[in-house]
């Protein structure tokens, strides 16, 4: 099973890297991301880059962008290019195909995020280190690594789930964007809440420390990730995929 999953991951990553659609996946896309998040932004921010809690948002956002640029292709792309039926007619199990697709998108997004993170550390040390080794405070570093992993998993799970049913890559991308928008609806609703509600919410959040909020977000992400895996697993049915081919 693990060998089969690795076979799928290898093929997926090879295809992603051979994509020639500019910034969406492909080698150019990778270089662009690493340059922006690993060099440009750290240079702009200086030493504060390592200590700022804003980092958590940025490094949570990066894997989402990376995964979303490739995950729509996972099943919809195979369907559109008529390679899905041949893959399903092979000896690979349903679980190996599904896990391989999810883990390839996740590995791509999280892997590039970690490379960008490492590049950012090197940039900060080269530009502002003055002989001293500068690192993230351990709690922020650990939170960045875990949140980026959980967000990459969320994007991969959601993207594969959508891609399973989409007829084309474009349709999968559109649905993914819509789902992403729906996830952020609570944030858009904040400004239009009644003044009293907003005050109560602000007071409640002020009483909770940042660590608890981060842990709460991670726990919520973990639950959503597991739910998405379970849902994708339930919806992966060879017969339905064949008939939609």
């Amino acid at each position: 099973m693990i060998r089969d999953i690795l076979t799928i991951i290898k093929k997926e990553l090879r295809e992603i890297l051979l994509q020639s659609s500019g910034l969406r996946g492909g080698r150019l896309g990778l270089l662009f991301f690493i340059a922006v998040f690993g060099v440009f932004l750290p240079l702009q921010s200086g030493r504060d880059w390592l200590n700022s809690p804003v980092n958590l948002f940025i490094w949570g956002w990066v894997p989402f962008l990376l995964v979303s640029s490739v995950v729509a292709d996972s099943f919809a792309g195979e369907r559109e290019r008529h390679t899905l039926e041949t893959l399903l007619a092979s000896r690979l199990s349903d679980r190996a195909i599904l896990a391989g697709k999810i883990l390839a998108a996740l590995g791509y997004g999280w892997g590039i995020t970690l490379v960008s993170l490492l590049t950012a550390l090197i940039t900060i040390n080269v530009a502002y280190g003055r002989g001293e080794l500068l690192l993230f405070p351990w709690k922020i570093g650990a939170a960045i690594i875990l949140i980026s992993l959980l967000v990459a998993t969320l994007a991969a799970g959601l993207g594969v789930l959508i891609s399973l049913r989409a007829a084309t890559v474009r349709q999968a991308q559109q649905t993914f964007s819509l789902a992403f928008f729906v996830l952020f609806i609570p944030l858009f609703l904040l400004p239009i809440l009644p003044e009293a509600w907003r005050l109560r919410l602000t007071q409640s959040l002020a009483q909770v420390d940042v660590e608890s909020i981060v842990l709460g977000v991670m726990a919520a992400l973990l639950v959503v990730d597991l739910a998405l895996f379970a849902l994708a697993s339930a919806r992966f049915q060879r017969t339905r995929l064949i008939l939609e081919e």
Partner: protein, 314 residues
């Protein structure tokens, strides 16, 4: 080894009110190239999907390589190769990477994998172009590569869904030669759907004819030709008088005859001799230019089966 590669009994599959495969019962002997013939939309692709365990039957039963399609679909796919309606090649990858991926899927050891890829690509005249991106290849070359992929892991059974569809006659002829040579060399059973009757006549030892999901006939090519009529004589010439035709009709071995312009077509009974019939015509003043003896071809068999079935339907 089981002498029957595929056996179906009353196999059916419906999509809502549409019956795509209707009580299909057939046997495919191991080691043969079996042609599954039918017009577009007759249920050929659905049958392949059923036999590969990709679709569940609505009713009926089938065993492929001894495995039940309902309970052991994984085992069937493990021992089979497939070239389906679309070639299924990854267009962004090179020919070698395409084969390498499927060799890994079938868990071929690295050394064996490399040797096998070289063997097949060399045989199909693609070895020198193995590093090229498949998307830039012609359809004929892609189809040859898909054949190589289907045979890569030494399957004992290969499903091919219209393998030469969309190819020009030259590419199709080349693929026929390659397929026949590979099938003979590898000793695999090939279950091939097609509506190209010349292709079936050239490649297949046995065929089945299907229309609207129903099996109309199955058997050896010669048996089917006999069903559509026995030996026939075609005589090209001139001065076909009524007297000559009447004399011919009176012969017991002549079942019926028809004259169109200067072409006389005679359907004969079994073991009829040609020479006495030709001399009878010559003695009655017919100028004979050319004589051809033959049997009904597969196209005639096919059309007659389709017509009969359509007639029954009406």
């Amino acid at each position: 080894m089981n002498s029957i590669a595929i056996q179906t009994e009353g196999l059916s599959r419906s999509f809502g009110s549409l019956v795509a495969v209707d009580r299909l019962s057939l046997q495919v002997p191991s080691g043969s190239i079996f042609g599954f013939l039918g017009p577009n939309g007759s249920g050929k692709t659905t049958t392949i999907r059923l036999l590969l365990g990709l679709l569940a039957p609505t009713s009926g039963y089938a065993r492929v390589l001894g495995y039940d399609i309902r309970t052991a679909a994984d085992a069937i796919r493990q021992s089979s190769g497939a070239l389906l309606e679309h070639n299924g090649l990854y267009q962004r990858l090179s020919a070698e990477n395409n084969l390498d991926f499927y060799a890994e899927v079938w868990r071929m050891p690295v050394d064996e994998r490399k040797a096998r890829i070289k063997e097949l690509l060399t045989h199909l005249d693609l070895w020198d172009r193995r590093a090229e991106i498949v998307g830039r290849w012609s359809r004929g070359m892609q189809q040859k590569l898909a054949v190589a992929r289907a045979l890569l892991h030494h399957p004992s059974l290969v499903f091919m869904d219209e393998p030469t569809a969309g190819l020009d006659p030259l590419a199709a002829a080349a693929l026929h030669t390659d397929l026949a040579a590979l099938a003979a060399r590898e000793g695999v059973t090939i279950f091939m759907t097609t509506h190209n009757l010349a292709e079936a006549e050239k490649l297949c030892q046995q065929v089945a004819v299907i229309r609207k999901g129903r099996l109309l006939a199955t058997g050896l090519l010669d048996e089917l030709r006999l069903q559509a009529g026995g030996p026939r004589l075609e005589i090209l010439g001139s001065s076909f008088s009524d007297q000559a035709l009447a004399a011919l009709k009176s012969r017991p071995e002549v079942l019926d005859l028809s004259l169109q312009d200067n072409r006389l077509l005679i359907n004969l009974g079994q073991s009829a001799e040609t020479a006495p019939l030709v001399s009878l015509l010559v003695n009655n003043g017919v100028q004979v230019d050319e004589v051809r003896k033959g049997k009904a071809n597969l196209e005639e068999v096919f059309i007659s089966l389709m017509d009969e079935d359509a007639e029954v339907e009406r």
